[in-house]
């Protein structure tokens, strides 16, 4: 009996592929940097602050010797450079400690905002002592404005700019309008008790000009920064799509392999049933026919796999590859384990001399390359033969892998053609009928993709030696 649930009518509509949601842009402007990058920036700000502390201390020390500064019309600064440097040292140590111990995203942001606020307050003090309107020191606020445009969102960098304007305005009001603080400057004679009206107008003009320049710089820097962030985000999204497409292709390749190999597995099993007498005795002539069916079936299965591998390699773009760091010992041991069964069948011994050398590439491709060469070395060896596998670092620490057999060898005139698809020498066919002639074509493809130099030496009847020189391990490429 069919239940009501399974008997109900149903409909399903195939939708076109979905586009990227528009909200991504909002995400990119709200948080332009990842947490790890923010932690790095927190430490970088602290390092930069040590430089400022050093400059203040130098100025303070030079100020202790009037004969050094007075000829240039500079006043003795007194203790303010030392006091300011001291406050900066304490705050910097506190920020460094917090950067190491408080690593949650909210704590990192609090640290950054704390640093900016303390910096702006101290900078306002320095601006006052150096000469808020008599000198161009007020432009030092631009460092914070521009850096906040780079590291924060547009809204957050505007808050920093408004904070800077507010503190500078408070300093100017206290100094020139309400006269709560005496006018200060590092230059002797540049400040006086009372300024004349034209000078005051000029100072007011300087104040508004400075603020106008800050706002213009904020607008330009935040606009450029948001464009760069947007582009970064688009690149990351493209990369994500490429990786997803690559995964989808791998999945498709796996399903195709299964779908093509499974029927042959069934045919092969049925042929074996007949050959092994499970279905009764069969005439000798029929047995030979079934043996041929069985052998071709096995060969076709291997060929399907190699054709798919080759197709997969040909359609792979280097940009979409994920390179990983490998150690030659792990890679070669894995590859040798893959040919151990066939080596046992052919009674071939594999001797190894493998030193650990770093390699960089897609693991699947390197495995494919080595397994194909090892497979050939074993298959084209004589019975009781030996295959030697070695790996040593070259002059530039590049991995050099050598796979050498004492098998049937390749005639010299045929060597240039061995990498052609489906090409097989007469000697190879006589020795082993079950090969597709695609193994070395796969080797060539992988070698070209990664700039691996392959040198082959062979002597018919004595054996073949493949020497693979991998590119030197590039640390920058790994990053």
């Amino acid at each position: 009996m069919i239940s009501d649930e399974t008997n109900q009518a149903a409909a399903y509509e195939l939708s076109p592929s979905q586009e990227i949601p528009a909200s991504l842009e909002v995400i990119s402007t709200e948080r332009p940097f990842s947490e790890s990058l923010l932690v790095h920036n927190v430490s970088w700000f602290c390092q930069f602050r040590w430089l400022v502390i050093a400059i203040l201390l130098c100025y303070g020390v030079v100020g202790l010797f009037p004969q050094l500064i007075e000829p240039f019309g500079i006043r003795r600064p007194g203790v303010w450079p030392f006091t300011t440097a001291g406050i900066l040292v304490l705050s910097n140590l506190a920020f460094l400690y917090l950067a190491k111990t408080r690593i949650a995203p909210v704590q990192i942001m609090t640290n950054l905002w704390g640093q900016i606020t303390v910096d702006l307050v101290i900078l306002t003090g320095v601006v006052y002592f150096v000469g808020s309107l008599e000198t161009s020191i007020a432009f030092a606020y631009l460092f914070h404005i521009v850096l906040s445009c780079v590291f924060f969102s547009g809204r957050q960098s505007l808050i920093v700019t408004v904070m800077a304007i507010g503190m500078f305005a408070v300093c100017i009001m206290a100094e020139y309008v309400f006269k709560i603080l005496p006018s200060m400057s590092i230059f002797t004679g540049s400040f006086r008790e009372e300024y004349s009206a034209p000078i005051l107008t000029m100072l007011a003009f300087n104040f508004f000009l400075t603020i106008g320049i800050w706002l213009a710089v904020w607008y330009l820097a935040s606009h450029l920064s948001s464009m760069v962030h947007k582009r970064d985000f688009e690149l990351a999204e493209t990369n994500r799509r490429l990786v997803a497409a690559s995964e989808e292709r791998s999945r498709h390749m796996l399903t195709t392999t299964h779908q093509l190999k499974a029927p042959f597995a069934a045919i092969y099993s049925n042929a074996q049933l007949l050959l092994e007498g499970y279905c009764g005795e069969i005439p000798e002539e029929s047995r030979k026919v079934i043996e041929r069916i069985s052998m071709r079936c096995r060969r076709l299965t291997a060929e399907i796999q190699e054709m798919l591998q080759l197709a997969n390699l040909s359609s792979t773009s280097m940009e979409s590859l994920t390179r990983v760091r490998m150690v030659s010992t792990d890679l070669l041991e894995w590859c040798i384990s893959q040919v151990e069964i066939i080596a046992k069948e052919h009674n071939v011994t594999i001797k190894t001399d493998i030193q650990p050398v770093a390699m960089l590439g897609a693991e699947d491709h390197f495995k494919m390359l080595i397994v194909n060469l090892l497979n050939n070395a074993v298959i084209y060896s004589h019975r009781n033969g030996q295959v030697n596998v070695s790996c040593k670092p070259g002059p530039n620490m590049e991995p050099v892998v050598v796979i050498e057999d004492n098998g049937i060898g390749i005639p010299a005139d045929k060597l240039p053609r061995i990498y052609e698809e489906h090409y097989r020498t007469k000697e190879a066919v006589e020795h082993n009928k079950e090969s597709s002639g695609l193994g070395l074509a796969i080797v060539k493809h992988v070698a070209e993709m990664y700039g691996i130099r392959i040198r082959v030496e062979s002597r018919p009847g004595s054996g073949t030696k493949f020497e693979l020189k991998f590119p030197a391990f590039d640390v920058d490429l790994e990053k």
Binding site: T257, A265, A266, S269, L273, Y278, R298, N312
Partner: protein, 135 residues
């Protein structure tokens, strides 16, 4: 005589394998989807399971069944599983005997299709012997 269950959606393949194992003197049950296989093995626990990976409705149903047996059912926890699939480790996302692992691929042994009957008979005998020893 042991009770062997073959779980494979390829009926032609499953029947040939079943015949080989039956001739070895074992009782064989073929199941062509993992749900009915799981149901059936709870009613009667097999001594050995020959399990495919890719099924029409789920390309990793074989893995799911192996995990369910190992992690969700006390009775089926120790039943040896021989994974029998056309997939191998030569492709990205592929797998092989070296990938056997208690969480991701909790099977006892692995054989790639097409399979030689000599190898199959040897593996089946070995796994059934191990099963008897642990009992």
């Amino acid at each position: 005589m042991a009770y062997v269950m073959i779980v494979d959606d390829d009926q032609d393949f499953a029947e040939t394998i079943a015949l080989v194992i039956q001739k070895e003197g074992h009782e064989v049950q073929n199941k062509y989807d993992t749900e009915s296989a799981f149901q059936s093995m709870q009613d009667r626990t097999p001594d050995l399971i020959l399990l495919d990976v890719m099924f029409p409705e789920d390309s990793s149903a074989g893995f799911e069944l192996a995990r369910a047996m190992r992690h969700e059912n006390e009775k089926l926890k120790k039943v040896p599983i021989l994974m029998l699939t056309a997939i191998n480790a030569k492709f990205p996302l592929g797998f092989g005997p070296n990938d056997i692992d208690s969480e991701w691929m909790p099977v006892t042994d692995f054989l790639e299709k097409p399979v030689d009957f000599d190898v199959l008979r040897e593996k089946v005998a070995k796994l059934l012997d191990q099963e008897r020893e642990t009992d």
